[in-house]
Structure formats: C-alpha cells, structure tokens
Symmetry: C2
Subunit: 79 residues, 2 copies
C-alpha cells in the first residue's frame, strides 16, 4: 500500500526557499508568478492492505516525525 | 491559477533522506515500512486563467530551474 504525505509550511510562516525560487523565476523571465511555497513530499511503501490502519499509522508518523506541527501542516493521500 | 509541481529523485537514484526517514521510523516502532522516498513540492500562484499557457510555463520552469532532469522527474498539476 502506498501513501503520500505532503508537508508545507503554514501560511503565516516565512518560506525562504519559496521566496528564492520566486525571485530566480523572475530573473529567468517568468513574469506573472505571484507566489511560491516550497514543501516536501514523502512517499511511503507500506506492508498490508488495511487502508484505515495505513491512514492511522501515517498520521502518527506525521505527528511524531515527518512534520513539525508548530510551523508545518501535512496532508495524507493513501493509494 | 494554482500549480503544484512534485519533484522526485528517479527510481534508480539513491535517496539518503528517504533512507534516513525509513530508518528513524523503524526505531520509533513503525514496522512494515518497506520503502520511503522523499522529494519536494512547489506550489505556484500564477497570474491569468489560461490553463494551457500555465502548463507550458510551468513545464519550462521545471526544465530550467525546478528539477534536475538528470536525476529527478517531475509531475505537474494545474488547479
């Protein structure tokens, strides 16, 4: 069973990576980029076929390791 | 118009971040994690409503800046 976790900085939190990408896109001639936010994505390959268990486990992984809940939010997709 | 780009290391390329996450998940008691791959996600806020133009522009951004096509693959979603 595959899971995908997307971790992004919360909207009020300064994102220097995203700002850098935005600036460089401007210098490369890409106008019309209003904003850029950069986050991370973690793809997990899990044992078993129990979707509910996978979702519960991955949520626990996010809370314990994958995301810093003070400044980051996460989104889980089970496939 | 919003675009989301996911950039992952190609499957044959060693992913030390993913390996580290996998190992730490094991030490935290999460058994049954077969594999972990970590990549980045870039959310772009673009001017205009032309979906085809947005897709073309974001593809060019990926080729020029966002992804290293030698070792990374990318996936674009326009929303």
């Amino acid at each position: 069973m595959k899971a995908r976790v997307q971790v992004m900085l919360k909207s009020g939190v300064l994102d220097p990576q995203g700002e850098a990408v935005k600036r460089v896109l401007g210098t490369l001639g890409f106008d019309g980029v209003r904003g850029v936010r950069q986050g991370k994505v973690i793809e997990l390959d899990l044992d078993g076929d129990d979707r509910a268990k996978a979702e519960k486990d991955v949520t626990a992984m996010c809370e314990k390791l994958l995301a810093n809940r003070v400044i980051e939010s996460y989104n889980i997709e089970i496939a």
